[in-house]
């Protein structure tokens, strides 16, 4: 038993010693180095692949989801502002009920409401995966249904001469101005946050670090071989290093081009979209306040200070939002659209001042002016907003597309580069190992 036990222990010791000897021998050491090098390269490749995947998927998300969501949200709110202006105008022109004016305003209202509903459907589909955005969208849907119901009730009550039509309309305007506006703001904020998150790609720098490590490992291996084998250059290993460095440079170039394009999309496109939507909201507030004061009979001679100050927020100069849009326009076309926006706002505001100035008696003349010229001017302004939005949207989409284009082939380059570099590294070390056979 003692002999057998002793033999087994000896065998174990011999095997272990042999293993260590093989590892310690040059071919064994080289094999170990080869495995470590290949693994390092493959790990860098996997990290690069994950990083590329993240960058590509973020860009796709911005292109297919976040961008359209931001734009549709603003378009929806713009359509609702227009619907509301038309509904109010139809209400204010109640003296002309059954006439074409009433019909035209109603047609405008229905068209705008249909556009808003279509945008809402798009928003709902785009925000389905974010529970909070989804809640906001559902809330907007409910508010929109209530709003349309109240507008319809107000119209019917007005037609039938039933008291309370004004209250219904006032309540409907309140729904848009408060509930809906808050939901739209939250939806926009969440989409904005998502956009900022998606522009950033936290895996990029770790992948660069992994590539750097792979290059360093390859350099060390080449240095070791140079010292041990007096071979200054191992072509496959050198090639592997060039491939890895090339992949890193390609990736870096694609990433920075994508980042620059997304930054342009954000600055030139999205920030302008945001600014435009702010303008739209403020202008709508201004218009809604005018409508309410006409309905309530509280307008007298001049625009109330509170509304006047809201108007100043929009001013078409260096102090106002419209002035900001003009100043931030980064193309001649965008500037022209922004200038038109400013002019059309000034026209509406001038008419609004006339509406206030002409307010006498029961306010019929003011209401008529507000629901004809005033409404036309507001719609002109609103379509100018749409036009600016259209340009910004186009710019945003083009830049996001450019960001996507920068990433074409990236995944293939990352995967192909890693595999090629690993094979080259293995080959380079195998050449040395073969020398011992």
């Amino acid at each position: 038993m003692t002999t057998i036990a002793s033999s087994a222990a000896s065998l174990t010791r011999n095997v272990a010693t042999g293993g260590l000897q093989r590892l310690g021998s040059r071919p064994g050491r080289l094999r170990t180095i080869a495995i470590v090098t290949v693994i390092t390269i493959l790990v860098a490749g996997v990290i690069g692949f994950l990083a590329a995947g993240q960058v590509i998927s973020n860009t796709n998300e911005i292109s297919d989801n976040t961008g359209p969501l931001l734009i549709e949200t603003q378009e929806m709110f713009g359509s609702l502002a227009e619907a509301d202006a038309a509904a109010t105008a139809a209400h204010l022109s109640s003296g002309q009920r059954g006439t074409g004016l009433d019909r035209q305003q109603r047609a405008l209202y229905e068209e705008a409401l249909a556009r808003a509903s279509s945008s809402l459907a798009a928003v709902a589909s785009l925000s389905a995966e974010d529970p909070i955005s989804n809640d906001r969208t559902l809330s907007i849907g409910e508010t929109l249904t209530r709003y349309a119901g109240q507008i319809e009730a107000s119209r019917v009550m007005n037609e039938e001469g039933i008291a309370g039509a004004d209250d219904q309309l006032r309540s409907a305007i309140g729904l848009l101005q408060n509930d809906m506006s808050a939901d739209v703001a939250e939806l926009t904020n969440r989409a904005q946050d998502r956009l900022l998150d998606q522009i950033e790609s936290p895996w990029f720098w770790p992948s660069m670090l992994a590539y750097a490590i792979a290059v360093i490992v390859l350099l060390l291996v080449m240095a070791y071989l140079a010292v041990r084998f007096r071979r200054i250059i191992n072509p496959p290993l050198l090639l592997a290093m060039v491939v890895i460095a090339g992949v890193a440079i390609w990736f870096g170039n694609a990433y920075f081009t994508q980042q620059a394009a997304l930054e342009d999309a954000r600055q030139g496109g999205y920030e302008s979209i945001k600014l435009t939507s702010e303008i739209q909201r403020e202008a709508f507030r201004y218009k809604a306040a005018e409508s309410l004061s006409l309905i309530e009979g509280t307008l007298s001679g001049q625009i109330p200070a509170q509304r006047e100050s809201a108007g100043r927020i929009l001013a078409n100069d260096e102090t106002g939002l419209i002035g900001d849009v003009v100043a931030s326009a980064d193309s001649d076309r965008e500037r022209a659209a922004a200038v038109e926006l400013g002019l059309r706002w000034d026209r509406y505001r001038a008419t609004s001042q006339q509406v206030a100035a002409s307010y006498t008696g029961d306010g019929t003349a003011s209401a008529a002016l507000a629901s004809t010229t005033g409404n036309d001017q507001f719609n002109g302004f609103n379509t100018a907003v749409s036009s600016v939005l259209f340009d910004n949207k186009l710019q945003f989409e083009q830049e996001v597309e450019a960001a996507g284009d920068a990433l074409t082939w990236l995944r293939w380059v990352v995967v192909g580069g890693a595999v090629l570099a690993a094979l080259l590294a293995w080959w380079g070390l195998a050449l040395r190992i073969r020398e011992y056979r």
């Binding site: 004016l101 001649d332 038109e340 002109g380 036009s387």
Partner: protein, 384 residues
């Protein structure tokens, strides 16, 4: 450079006729521009390669204006083709040579289709600062909100005109056109949306919201009238009335002024005396609009033209001559400042009152893939 103008237009410059009482000034203006006064279609070679080519309707601009604008815009070549007789044939003309013109002027519904089909360039807003002068009502169509692809040229009203020498009472109802009272001497034009729209108004339906059923009902009424030979379809209802083919007709508001101009050149017994009304049931409103076809090599020139015709003074000159509703803000004021034209500033056909506007309907479109094409085919079968 070549400029082609139909000779018929050269005899008729409303502005000059209004101002000077004759067409001599118009002819002299063209003579000064190097035109010869003979031939049906004149060609002027200005020997340059810079070209703006416009395909538009007949009788739709003050004939002085192309020359004036050519000079003020520094265009070396202007081809002004008035070959767009109606939307069907005009579009066919354009289709034969889609890059042959830099501006075409279809009616709004056709422009909407062209935009939808991607056949139209976006308006270079940066080159057209006067885009701000578009009346807001033209900015709201759902097919091009903000007028990014089109710029309205002129708008008109389709109503009723009657020959006051042969008809001894005002014809103010569409019912009169359909009554059979005039024994076939009732003329309609060949624009389906206007004709069917009027029939719909008579039937109490709203042409701004047509349905397949309401359009069918209107079409049946027209088919019956046509079968009974109570109505005729003509290329120009103005010419049909002038040629005494018709005593009553659906009529474009701008043709009223044109008839008055023509009358000035005729002896009293040749003159056509007519009156015009927006029907009690309502009239049809439409507008023709400038678009830049895709692939135009002269977009900058097209933009310069568009910008210029949107200057209120120039637009007023056009309005004074064509007699249609201008889509340009400031035209009324511009007319007021011109002593010779100030009277036009209060013309209800040029500047319809709110009451008139409230009775105007713009064809709302069934949707081109939703029955409108079939309706057009059915209409063309009636027209023959």
């Amino acid at each position: 450079m070549k400029r082609r103008l139909d000779h018929r237009r050269l005899a008729l410059s409303r502005r000059d006729l209004l101002k000077a009482g004759g067409g001599a000034a118009v002819l002299s203006a063209f003579a000064a521009a190097g035109c010869s006064a003979s031939g049906e279609e004149r060609t002027v070679d200005l020997g340059s390669s810079d070209t703006l080519r416009i395909l538009t309707w007949l009788d739709y601009i003050d004939p002085d204006l192309p020359g004036q604008l050519q000079a003020s815009l520094g265009l070396q070549s202007l081809i002004y083709d008035e070959l767009w007789e109606d939307n069907q044939s005009g579009y066919a003309t354009w289709q034969e040579n889609q890059t042959g013109w830099d501006i075409v002027v279809p009616t709004y519904w056709l422009a909407a289709e062209m935009i939808d089909d991607g056949l139209v360039e976006q308006i270079p807003l940066e080159l057209i600062p006067n885009h701000v002068n578009i009346e807001p009502t033209y900015l709201t169509p759902s097919w091009d909100r903000g007028a990014r692809f089109h710029m309205p040229w002129q708008a008109g009203i389709t109503g009723i005109a009657w020959n006051t020498d042969t008809v001894n009472r005002p014809i103010t109802s569409i019912a009169d056109l359909f009554s059979g009272e005039f024994d076939g001497r009732v003329a309609f034009n060949q624009e389906m949306r206007e004709v069917v729209g009027l029939a719909m108004l008579l039937q109490g339906n709203d042409p701004s919201r047509p349905t397949a059923a309401s359009a069918d009902q209107a079409m049946r009424a027209l088919e019956d009238l046509r079968a009974a030979q109570q109505i005729q379809f003509v290329g120009s209802t103005r010419e049909a009335m002038r040629d005494e083919q018709a005593d009553v007709a659906m009529f474009w508001s701008g043709d009223v002024g044109l008839v008055a101009l023509e009358n000035e050149e005729m002896s009293p017994d040749q003159q056509l005396n007519l009156d015009f009304a927006v029907p009690d049931e309502g009239g049809i409103q439409w507008f023709d609009t400038m678009v830049i076809p895709k692939g135009s090599p002269n977009i900058a020139a097209a933009a310069a033209w568009m910008n210029e015709v949107y200057r209120p003074e120039v637009a007023a000159q056009i309005t004074a001559w064509v007699g249609y509703v201008s889509p340009v803000i400031g035209v009324q004021d511009a007319l007021r400042t011109d002593p010779g034209l100030a009277g036009l500033a209060d013309d209800p056909l040029l500047f319809p009152t709110a009451e008139t506007r409230s009775r105007l309907f713009t064809w709302g479109q069934l949707g081109r893939f939703d029955g409108e094409a079939e309706l057009e085919a059915r209409f063309q079968a009636i027209v023959g």
